[in-house]
């Protein structure tokens, strides 16, 4: 797997042709994809070109949550791109299904798509670079492409924070609270107070 990615990166180091595959996106990401070809960002300078035929492509820029209607066509288009290939999942919809990730007419992002591809079509999931954003700004897309080409080490990392401390802390906390209120600690309920 690793070597495959390495080979791929070597192959597309200076020339990466991308097929744009919209699987039911709102257009936001699609226009930003076009935007990276406009003068301000001009990714042609990095050897990147948008191609109209999946046959010519080295990578797929996938946008949208993959609607139920699009699913077979998306699978076909992915199939039509010759190996080795990579998928750039662009935007919140492609990365995680977006705002409609769980509705009746949406598959819900590439993870789900790959699951269905494997189960129903017996296809392996291609390596994927996730580019979150809604839509990602053009620079974020370029960053994603740079990550895919191995030009940049991604800096986004999984973060897990686990709160330390345990049961003893309750007493300390309550002391603190009670201290603030000039009451003694304890849980006695005073029944004689009105308004409880």
């Amino acid at each position: 797997m690793e070597t495959r990615v390495e080979d791929y990166r070597k192959l597309v180091k200076r020339s990466l042709w991308v097929f744009h595959l919209n699987s039911g996106s709102c257009n936001g990401c699609d226009i930003e994809i076009l935007n990276v070809f406009a003068p301000r960002n001009d990714v042609e300078r990095l050897g990147i070109k948008l191609v109209g035929s999946p046959r010519h492509a080295d990578a797929i820029a996938l946008t949208g949550p993959v609607t139920r209607e699009c699913l077979p066509k998306v699978v076909d288009a992915i199939k039509a791109v010759p190996e080795p290939k990579i998928v750039l999942a662009i935007g919140a919809c492609a990365c995680g299904g977006g705002i409609w990730y769980d509705t009746y007419s949406v598959v819900g992002g590439v993870k789900e798509l790959y699951r269905i591809m494997k189960e129903e079509y017996g296809m392996e999931a291609p390596p994927t670079v996730f580019i979150p954003g809604c839509p990602p700004k053009p620079e974020a897309i370029i960053y994603g492409v740079a990550v895919a080409k191995g030009m940049i080490e991604p800096k986004q990392r999984r973060m897990v924070y686990v709160e330390e401390g345990g049961g003893d802390e309750l007493a300390r906390m309550l002391e603190e609270v009670n201290g603030l209120r000039h009451f003694s600690a304890g849980f006695k309920v005073r029944r004689d107070v009105n308004g409880t």
């Binding site: 020339s15 406009a38 042609e44 300078r45 035929s53 046959r55 010519h56 190996e83």
Partner: protein
């Protein structure tokens, strides 16, 4: 130098330089669109990548024709390049090399179209249709121009025509030929066969990997050869000076053509064909002048 060796040098030069020239054109266009553009070697990078990738054969295609087309197309332009003096002034000419040259280039176009038909993709078929109708329309003008120039130079061999004698007919002929070079280079507004927004690169849609690379290389070489013939018509001297003037002129010519291309909208097929039919008049004038001996 021996003609064989010099021809070999020329062929190698043509193959190496043609993608570079395309890279330069891309750069020029980019600059005229206020953007940085790709590195000048970009077309080479693209080609190398394509040649490394496998080619996929679509299911419904005529396999053998589909497989054969890129190879035939490339070999015909390469064969054509042996007749034309490019970097070095000597090459393997023979008495009818002009005719052979013209038809070898046409053969390359034809196989591009046939490859498109063979892929059985509807866009490719429309593209191939357009390619053929354009080819027909081009032939008409080209026939007059070539005939005019041949009469003017007094022979059908390149050796007689390079350079052309300074006559009214040759001036008109060269100018008309310059336009034909633009047209058959498949440039906007005459790129109807490959129109990306309409029919997705037309005949090339189903080609991938190696065969796409060969097709692209064919197109680059074709353009370079057309430029070369045009320049040979006018460069009057030989030797080292010729080589450097040739390369410099090639760069200038290609930049000018690229600038034109960047600032034109695409024709409809019918408009393009109509234009070419009218343009045949220029070829006719050239021929007439030549016949009259001017």
């Amino acid at each position: 130098m021996m003609p064989e060796l010099s021809t070999l040098v020329n062929v190698v030069f043509v193959v190496l330089f043609a993608p570079l020239l395309d890279g330069i054109e891309r750069k020029v266009k980019a600059r005229l669109q206020t953007r940085q553009g790709p590195p000048v070697l970009q077309s080479w990078y693209d080609l190398i990548k394509l040649l490394k990738r496998p080619s996929v054969e679509p299911s419904g295609s005529f396999g053998w024709l589909f497989r054969l087309a890129p190879a035939v197309a490339l070999s015909s332009v390469l064969l054509a390049s042996t007749f034309v003096p490019s970097l070095l002034a000597r090459s393997m000419g023979f008495w009818g090399d002009l005719i052979a040259f013209v038809y070898l280039l046409a053969l390359a176009s034809l196989f591009l179209a046939l490859g498109g038909f063979a892929s059985c993709n509807p866009y490719a078929q429309i593209g191939s249709h357009r390619e053929i109708s354009l080819l027909m329309a081009e032939e008409f003008s080209l026939a007059f121009i070539v005939a005019g120039l041949a009469v003017s130079a007094g022979g059908l061999a390149f050796s007689a025509m390079f350079p052309l004698p300074l006559k009214a007919s040759s001036v008109v002929g060269v100018l008309a030929f310059a336009v034909m070079v633009y047209v058959s280079g498949a440039r906007v507004p005459f790129d109807v066969a490959e129109a990306e927004p309409e029919i997705v690169e037309g005949p090339l849609i189903e080609f991938s990997g190696r065969s796409l690379g060969l097709m692209k290389l064919t197109a680059y070489v074709r353009r370079l050869l057309l430029f070369t013939v045009l320049l040979n018509f006018v460069i009057p001297f030989g030797g080292v000076l010729r080589s450097s003037v040739y390369v410099a002129a090639l760069l200038v010519l290609s930049a000018v053509y690229a600038a034109f291309e960047a600032y034109f909208g695409r024709f409809r097929t019918a408009d393009a064909v109509r234009f070419l039919k009218r343009f045949a008049a220029a070829g006719f004038v050239c021929w007439l002048l030549a016949v009259l001996g001017w």
